[in-house]
Amino acid sequence: DTAVSQTPKYLVTQMGNDKSIKCEQNLGHDTMYWYKQDSKKFLKIMFSYNNKELIINETVPNRFSPKSPDKAHLNLHINSLELGDSAVYFCASSQGAGLLNEQFFGPGTRLTVL
């Protein structure tokens, strides 16, 4: 299936742990994103990569570090997890960084920090 996939779908962990979320797209897109959706359902951009180059880095704690090994993958590593990091994290992709093309979203990773 052509799509944006994320692993894992659910992640439950203790405060202080380090965890990673992986994202892959097989749509041939050159731009990928990480979004955070909080309990009030607001979807907020965290990072954006175009051709493996970071182009958007919102005011996100530096405990969050994205890594793009190639155009099809964008992973998110989170150090020293805090309770406030609990949310659903979505990966998305699009063709072009100009945001005039639709973004395709993955199914989300629900992170729960205990």
């Binding site: 944006v4 607001f42 005039l100 199914p107």
Partner: protein, 110 residues
Amino acid sequence: EDQVTQSPEALRLQEGESSSLNCSYTVSGLRGLFWYRQDPGKGPEFLFTLYSAGEEKEKERLKATLTKKESFLHITAPKPEDSATYLCAVSDQGAQKLVFGQGTRLTINP
């Protein structure tokens, strides 16, 4: 700073009862306004992009319109499968990001 406000937060309709969802925005030079649909436990799914005031787009029972300050998503004779959260987002001339509203949770009762 770009802002997007959607209303109502939640809307419950009977099957066949038409209505509209509102998206008000403040942006310095609109580049595009986007509508997405999100089902529970899933990622948002693209519906429409509108670029300039006066533009309209349709897809099945949905029709999106745009003015200089707001967009409406009209739903005509909705069916239960139209139940979802509808998200609005804007992109301005300078930023390379979408700013989303909080969504309208639409429930269509059979």
